[in-house]
Amino acid sequence: MINQYFQRKYIIGGIILLAGLVLLFRLFYLQVVNSSYKLSAENNSKREVIQYPARGLMYDRNGTLLVSNQAAYDVMLTPGQLDAFDTISFIKILGISLADVRSGIKKAKEYSSFAPSVFMKQVSGEIASVLQEQLYKFPGFFVQTRTLRKYPRNIAAHLMGYVGEVDKNIIGNNPYYQMGDYIGISGVEKRYEEILRGVKGKKNYLVDVHSRITGSYQGGRFDVPAKIGKDITLTIDADLQEYGESLMKNFTGSIVAIEPSSGEMLCMVSTPSYPPDLLVGRGLSHNFNSLSSDTLNPLFNRAIAASYPPGSTFKLINALVGLQEKVITPATEFGCQSGYAFKGQFLGCHSHRSPLDLREGIQNSCNSYFVNVFRRIMEDPKFGSTDQAFNNWRKHLLSFGLGNTLNSDLSGELKGFIPKDEYYNKYYGKDHWNFLTIRSLAIGQGELGVTPLQMANLTSAIANQGYYITPHVLKAVIGEESIDPAYLERHYTSIDTTYFPIVIDGMELAVNGGAGSTAGRAKIEGIVVCGKTGTAENPHGEDHSIFIAFAPRENPKIAIAVYIENGGFGGTWAAPVASLMIEKYLTREVKRKYLEDYIYNAEIKRK
């Protein structure tokens, strides 16, 4: 009787076993069935720290350092790890206000709660080290080391371009980049981004709940070392570039110099320019804004993105086409009475001796002579109509790399403009135009648009007597065998090699021919410079001064095109500038100080 309820032990035992089973089922689900907790655990305790490789350096063709790196420190924030922290000492260390902290945190939260984003950019090394020491007080924050660009020579801003932070657009298109990463925005930095940037690596650390690093994750088994960016050598000659920039400091315009035998760009000057270190670090966006609102547009790379009429330099092309189409010979003479008159139309010329043959026509840059040449080209009986003759002429032009991008390794190249017959057909109606309608093309005016780069390339093709190699700025990637074969290939023009010496004779005379030579100022003692002046008509103001040249005549080392906006006649400013550049490049020093002073003291009205 005393133990009549003993069966109840089964109920009690049953409850206990049932409860134990419930626990086991739940544990089975958590530990065996559901795998999401394993992932959560990893995310909890593993912190991936991105290792940013140093960006590749740039050297000039002589091994002079053009671009290097400097360390910078970004204060990063992962909002999800944020906890109450000592705000007072935090703002003291960083030297910011409480409002900055609030807005910074808000911004970071808007980006992501779990991914770190930049809280404060590029603090000094001193601040970074103080913060690093006291980081344990500020959960969620950490310091990320970055490299910024440094410019020992502070030149060639347009050519090298600059590095800036990626925007949402880039992140969306390329998964490699994350918020806060840097990317080449323009110039060489942009074109060779993938070579220069290297490959980001990652280190996995174990962190505790306060996100303090406690060691490496699994002994670094999943770490990926960063691949350092490759150094590159540019074709640029730093001294020449610097000299060119100094010569152009009073002018708006550009200089492009190419080594004809290789297509390597020796310099590329575009003024007004800016010192490249303006677009580095924290000042970037402010400076960028002030540069882009500058009326002189210093960010604009005129060398490849500005299109001007070629002016009289174009007479060389018309001479070559005339010779190739056999509508003239070197001995063909035309008279000139201070201009060309035909059917009531008149195209003026300066006064010179008359008549002239081809070489002299080039030497004197006679307008009448080349209108006559152009007329013969356009009225060539081989072709049934002006239309067909025009198309043939145009084809020759395109073979010099005009009217299209050259596909150099600089981004932002302009195509320029060589009109098609359709252009005139549309404007005047088919068969309602003739050579007279388009006579200004004879002397490089009118509808033509050519960039300084295209002009330099054209000069290079003449210097090479019939071919050019696509201009480029990358000489070598250090540690790699060869460059893109596209920059080794010869592009032949449609003009036979035999015709070039005749035109080159004219160019030599233009510089060295004494009386009547249009480019006497380009003459250098001891070096045979071959050149041609040009003056591009400018409806908005003073004409642009143009000069193209190469030197020496035998085995040319440099081909150059100089454009000086509003510089007037080509012989006035562009020829001496080109001449000084050639002297600098070929002899490494300039003896003609008087000519230098003349340029340095130039005063022209910029438009």
């Binding site: 005393i2 009549q4 309820y5 003993f6 109840r8 032990k9 109920i11 009690i12 035992g13 409850i15 206990i16 076993l17 409860a19 134990g20 419930v22 626990l23 086991l24 739940r26 544990l27 089975f28 958590l30 530990q31 065996v32 559901n34 999401s36 907790y37 394993k38 959560s40 655990a41 990893e42 909890n44 305790s45 999800g80 174990l206 962190v207 505790d208 709940v209 306060h210 406690t214």
Partner: protein, 470 residues
């Protein structure tokens, strides 16, 4: 086997299980707070070194308990219970407040938690009372006295406040049930708990409607008169619409809940009058139950809002799925489940756990020690621990059933029940099945008070059991 050696008379299976669990607990504490700076498990500046001292002390206590005559415990049952009550009162006055609870006495360098020791004391007093000659479990006064013995210390602990420890005293319902008290007590407790949760989860109007509907069903089952049921329902509906109309007329809005409540009260009065006239006896009891249930739902809601602290409310809500807030109050449970879940089938290995070691799991050496087991030893380890505990419980039930003396049996059941509830609630809260109430896992969790109290509890019973064979 009479008057044998005391050592031979002890149940060594239980002692082995005890030692096994204590050592496993110690190793897991070592792993949970392990740092490379203090690699020695005996370093007394670290928790694992301290736990080693607590273990040694516990073993000395166990030996002392075994050496005392078994009749001592029955004889001094009430006195020990009274002492425990006095200490619980004292801690409310002179205790040290930690984490908002006045549950501790600071003695020199360490703290003692008296609520732990109240549990064996209650078991002694309960056993002594229930083993009184000729006790009548059907009498209300008996039930009342049992209730007082169990819930007086629980109430004092609730005042500290320490909800988790107070809750554990519900475990003593099991020995009471075992001794022949109505099964209704067990079912009633279970129903109360269920209703408690339902009140928190569902809309009060739905709940009231369900209670009323259940009342009608119960009435129909009891009286089996369809005619009366229809009448009752019609009466209720009539009152309901009158109340609703009144609320619309005077308050200019339709207040369903008060209308339902008022119509229920009016209906109950009407039913009681009708039942009295027609001499239908059972209706009175039914009405009482329905009214009590509704009152209880109020009480739960009220106490939830007024007695539980904000964080406790949040924890209950998290557990019930009312709030999802992974970085807020649910953070602990979430981290704990991540730790256990990440252990997989075989675990990450001893000292290899990342979640517990890197402090993602809070209180990882005390209330959440099971996380370390789960993370480092996987499903295999958790299963072994649970099976060991279940084996210990079954062993203790078996031993309790073998007792010739009712005192020893009740005490044994008290031990199993308290230990079981600790075990269940502790593990259930680490895996998200129970709100985080903060009670230790017996023998595993770091801390002298818990270890010593359970050691004393267990070894008193083993001494009683050994006494049976003398």
């Amino acid at each position: 086997m009479r008057r044998g050696n005391i050592i031979a008379n002890l149940d060594w299976i239980t002692i082995m299980l005890y030692l096994l669990l204590v050592i496993m607990g110690w190793l897991n504490i070592f792993s949970a707070v392990y740092s490379e700076g203090h690699p020695s498990i005996l370093d007394i500046n670290q928790r694992y070194g301290k736990q080693f001292i607590w273990i040694l002390a516990a073993i000395i206590m166990a030996i002392a308990i075994v050496l005392i005559d078994h009749r001592f415990y029955e004889f001094f049952g009430y006195i020990l219970y009274g002492t425990a009550i006095l200490i619980l009162l004292a801690v409310l006055v002179a205790g040290k407040e930690i984490n908002g609870s006045k549950s501790w006495f600071a003695l020199g360098g360490f703290q003692i938690q008296p609520s732990e020791f109240a549990k064996p004391a209650v078991a002694l007093a309960l056993a002594k009372y229930l083993s009184t000659f000729n006790i009548n479990s059907k009498k209300f006064s008996t039930l009342l006295k049992v209730g007082i013995i169990i819930f007086l210390p629980s109430l004092l602990i609730l005042l500290q406040p320490d909800t988790g420890s107070a809750l554990v005293f519900f475990a003593f319902v099991l020995p009471v049930y075992r001794e022949g008290f109505s099964g209704a007590i067990l079912i009633g407790m279970f129903a109360l708990a269920l209703l408690f949760i339902l009140v928190l989860v569902s809309n009060e109007l739905v709940l009231l409607a369900s209670i009323i509907a259940l009342g009608f069903i119960a009435y129909w089952l009891m009286v089996k008169s369809f005619k009366n049921l229809i009448l009752a329902v019609l009466i209720f509906i009539a009152f309901f619409f009158i109340s609703l109309g009144a609320s619309y007329l005077f308050g200019n809005s339709l207040e369903y809940y008060p209308a339902a409540l008022i119509s229920m009260v009016l209906s109950i009065i009407t039913y009681l009058i009708l039942a009295y006239i027609h001499r239908i006896r059972k209706v009175g009891i039914l009405m009482l139950v329905v009214a009590a249930t509704v009152f209880y739902t109020f009480a739960v809601n009220y106490s939830f809002d007024h007695f539980l602290s904000d964080y406790q409310q949040r924890r209950v809500n998290i557990m019930l799925g009312i709030q999802s807030d992974p970085l807020g109050a649910g953070y602990n449970v979430n981290q704990s489940m991540i730790a256990i879940g990440s252990g997989g089938v075989v675990g990450k290995g001893f000292l290899q756990g990342t979640q517990t070691k890197l402090n993602f799991v809070p209180e990882q050496s005390t209330d959440f020690i099971f996380c370390t087991v789960g993370e480092e030893w996987g499903f295999l380890g958790t299963t072994i621990v649970i099976i060991l505990f279940l084996y210990l419980f079954i062993r203790l039930i078996t031993l309790a059933e073998l007792q010739k003396e009712k005192f020893a049996r009740v005490f044994g059941y008290g031990l199993v029940s308290v230990m079981f509830l600790h075990f269940f609630i502790n593990i259930a809260m680490t895996i998200g099945l129970f709100p985080v109430v903060g009670i230790p896992l017996p023998f595993f969790s770091y801390g002298g008070s818990s270890l010593w109290a359970f050691t004393i509890f267990l070894f008193i019973f083993l001494r009683l059991d050994a006494g049976r064979k003398e």
